[in-house]
């Protein structure tokens, strides 16, 4: 238990670890195959690696790192579209710092900026709105991305732009929604997940109800979880307890932030401004029905895709990348052919190496010694081939 001292309440952490160990004893199938739990959210993945949570758990529990890193799953074509918007002379392209580094097929926004495009990093979409007020002769575009956690902020910004009567502000909307991707993972035939650590801040917005289908239709336990190491450990205990007792329910470990009905004001704003796209492309996972979000017709004048001729570029993921297999839990990041060779955090090829919240980048930065040794051996073997 090398990291347990760093937890907010080390004694509680130790009790949880002990109870998890006792509970897995009564889960019969764990003697044949590992109990696989997926943490959906990249923030959880980061905490799991930073605190070595997997090393605290019994060997029969395997954590599968899900696709909930919005920067990682953004397809290259959308980045290319965004770069082409940024290169228009009248445009000031604004976005979060995380999004600036995402590689497109030719360049990232950061590189476009170095080449002279007016790309500006903002902390909030409201900063973009202020830029639009201050630069009436320019077109300010906000490159919006993220799951339901950031959706209310962009929806409310559009509503404010309308109230302010702005005509030089628009969104390049790349929001994605959580439920369809969880459902698509559950429908994968080679999927053997036994439970979900559900995203805390998405749930803060949408509430508990949207996750009911996981328990009701798929009979899998799911626990809404906070972002501290103790939160995650407690949720794993709750999941294992459900599995041991053969229950499948939605539980809320993060009640200090997540109200069971979500945030009404946020949902109202999202409902006013956004609607589902029929399908949306995910990097590493392909096209998923009803998983993207677009701006409703009533707010079309704030939609950069309609305001400007966006090329809508489609770029296929590099063939050697196995991000999709990693995301489904079929392989571990270090089992991918290009991991730590052609694909590193400095020069990411695949989605999961792009942001520090991606599973591959987390392995790369915080991977444990045996895995990295295995990786090194595999690479040497590969290099020795003629």
């Amino acid at each position: 238990m090398k990291y347990v001292d760093e937890f907010r309440d080390p004694a509680l952490a130790q009790t949880l670890v002990r109870e998890i160990n006792e509970l897995v004893e009564v889960i019969e199938f764990s003697k044949q195959r590992p109990i696989q739990l997926m943490e959906f959210c990249g923030g959880h993945t980061h905490t799991i690696f930073r605190y070595g949570i997997e090393q605290l758990l019994p060997k029969c529990i395997e954590l599968v790192h899900g696709p909930g890193c919005p920067v990682c799953v953004l397809p290259m074509g959308r980045v290319d579209d965004c770069v082409s918007l940024a290169q228009r002379p009248e445009v000031i392209l604004t976005t979060f710092g995380d999004a600036m580094r995402v590689p497109g097929s030719k360049m990232s926004l950061l590189q476009a900026k170095a080449d002279g495009a007016d790309v500006r990093m903002v902390y909030s979409p409201l900063d973009a709105l202020r830029l639009a007020h201050e630069n009436k002769n320019r077109e300010v575009i906000f490159f919006a991305l993220g799951f339901e956690t950031t959706m209310p902020s962009t929806a409310l910004t559009v509503l404010q732009a309308e109230a302010d009567g702005l005509d030089n502000f628009s969104l390049f909307c790349n929001h994605i929604t959580t439920v369809p991707i969880i459902e698509s993972i559950l429908n994968t035939s080679d999927m053997q997940l036994d439970g979900f650590v559900a995203p805390g801040h998405v749930s803060m917005v949408v509430g508990e109800k949207p996750f009911n289908f996981v328990a009701e239709k798929y009979r899998k336990p799911i626990v809404i979880t906070g972002f501290e190491p103790l939160d995650i450990l407690q949720s794993i205990w709750l999941l294992i307890k459900q599995i041991a007792e053969q229950r499948a329910e939605v539980e809320n470990q993060y009640a200090r932030v997540v109200a069971s009905r979500g945030n009404r004001q946020a949902l109202v704003a999202m409902e006013r401004v956004f609607e589902l796209r029929e399908f949306f492309e995910w990097r590493g996972l392909g096209s998923i029905d009803n998983s993207g979000i677009k701006i409703k017709d009533e707010y079309a004048r704030f939609d950069a895709e309609r305001k400007f001729a966006v090329p809508n570029v489609k770029i296929t993921d590099p063939k050697s990348c196995q991000c999709g297999d990693v995301l489904r839990g079929a392989i571990k990041p270090w089992q991918c052919k290009v991991f730590a060779g052609a694909c590193t955090p400095e020069t990411p090829m695949g989605a999961l190496m792009v942001s520090s919240e991606g599973a591959c980048a987390a392995y790369y930065n915080f991977g444990s010694l045996p895995e990295l040794l295995a990786l090194k051996l595999a690479r040497e073997k590969q290099e020795a081939l003629p």
Partner: protein
């Protein structure tokens, strides 16, 4: 972007636009508080409250003690500094 950061509301700036100032580790930043205001919690009741701030929007009320613990942990992770840097280094 997804983790958010706890802060305390120290000033109501514009009640019509639901804008307030929050103090986060010594930094003051204007945020939108639409998502935490409703009939039961009018805007004037927000002063002094602790909230979880995501990309310039207060998204949830939290207990002061919880807020401080979360902040301490984010500081330990280096995440608090990243968030504060992005708040202050924003070009505008």
């Amino acid at each position: 972007m997804c983790l958010g950061i706890p802060g305390q509301i120290v000033e109501i700036v514009d009640p019509e636009k639901n804008l307030a100032k929050v103090a986060i580790s010594g930094i003051r930043r204007e945020v939108n508080i639409t998502c935490i205001v409703d009939q039961d919690h009018p805007i004037n009741s927000c002063l002094g409250e602790w909230v979880l701030v995501h990309v310039g929007f207060a998204m949830s009320r939290i207990e002061e003690e919880e807020a401080k613990k979360t902040l301490a942990l984010l500081q330990e992770l280096g995440e608090a500094q990243k968030e504060l840097d992005s708040m202050t280094s924003t070009i505008i």
